[in-house]
Homo-oligomer: 128 residues x 4
DNA sequence: GTGGTCTAGACCACG
DNA sequence: GTGGTCTAGACCACA
């Protein structure tokens, strides 16, 4: 499910973190669902358990996951996600838009791209 | 003008780079305008000149500015900016939108935010 | 393997960069192979590690190698090399040929030299 | 005749040097022909005479020019050009070819490009 | 132990 | 005075 690229400049734990978050955001992992144990996932990806542990901890701090001692880690509800995460994403959105406009990308192009992304998301949520 | 955060995971030179790029994109720095000298900006931000130089170098590679030895560094024309930069920004745009939608932000909210950003940009270009 | 000339106008890091690239192009360093660590090569060449790092960084941007923090630097696949590099080399080719013709070098001499270089390259690729 | 680019990373005197050499190589300036005086060219290009002086000196060292005290500077015969210049150009030729082959450019493409460059040169020399 | 970042201080070429 | 290069030495994150 998660692809690791050892040649990537990003550290492994961050690739795991982003990969998991993408699975959650895309709906591949539903809220409440149990994640593989740290050891299981470490074995699957053939990397050190410490690296997985770090990714889980980071996602827990963002609110995407919660852990229950002795039970495992689970996907959190959307409403649980840290609100600062949203601010950060909005800032990222603004920065990208501002620079794209500066580079001559048309407002209409961006609006259309936004609409397409929204449509895709709706479709996925309609029939998961 | 540029705020540094030593606790941030992002390296200083990247914060400087992004800060300067933002000033260019926002129109605070106009094409052709001279930037502060490496030493001057280093002194202002209370960091080492080498760090500033690194930020300038990176921005030069992106095409946002150009440097002339013995003369100084200057803001480049929009058309000089590296074309691959746009692809990277579109990817950033998509990623932010996808996650924001998941977090419950409405399509309409994003569309409105986009429209406002566009309006601001037009206004600035109309009366610089 | 790499020879440095302190009297040369070209900066050291560029001499290192070109030397390494030549080793890759000549097949002395094969794709996937690990390069000496920054510190090791700095020690070998008796120069500062920062200078080596700069050469590695530049080659990474050209796509000739890739670095993984904590692991080391490795030779990249041919297909990874930046495509704009080819344009620059063709320009270099044209400039050299034009001036050589002016200086009285015969077309036949250059054609033969070209053929020999091609033959050498084929031989190396046939039996690495 | 010579175009200066203040935004170029190359120093001005080198742009002048390369520009003049190109004029000689292309046949625009014929052997024996008198070059503009340092002061005249400095005035034309609107730059410091010292800069022109340095370019002339460098070209004189390469053998492309010779100066006669009180008379001016003149384009030298082809045979006067420093032989090390030819070696350097051949090395440049080899390096470009080797790397182009490595990047997958076909031998035939390079041979054709060489032939075309030779043809252009012949045409120019036939009817200057 | 590795690459990545940063500092402090120095010298050089350029115009 | 400017950008560009280099050195020496330091600390950090990563796996």
């Amino acid at each position: 499910m998660i692809s690791l690229n050892y040649r990537d400049a990003r550290p492994i734990y961050e690739q795991v973190k982003d990969g998991l978050r993408k699975l959650v955001v895309s709906g591949a992992l539903q809220p409440g669902e149990k994640l593989p144990s740290v050891r299981a996932m470490a074995s699957t990806l053939a990397i050190n358990p410490n690296t997985i542990q770090r990714a889980y901890e980071a996602l827990e701090r963002e609110g995407y996951l919660y852990s229950v001692a002795g039970k495992g880690s689970f996907v959190a509800e959307r409403s649980e996600v840290d609100t600062t995460r949203q601010d950060s994403l909005l800032a990222q959105f603004d920065a990208a838009v501002s620079e794209l406009l500066y580079l001559g990308v048309d407002e209409q192009q961006l609006a259309q791209r936004l609409a397409e992304l929204c449509k895709k998301t709706e479709d996925k949520e309609a029939q998961p």
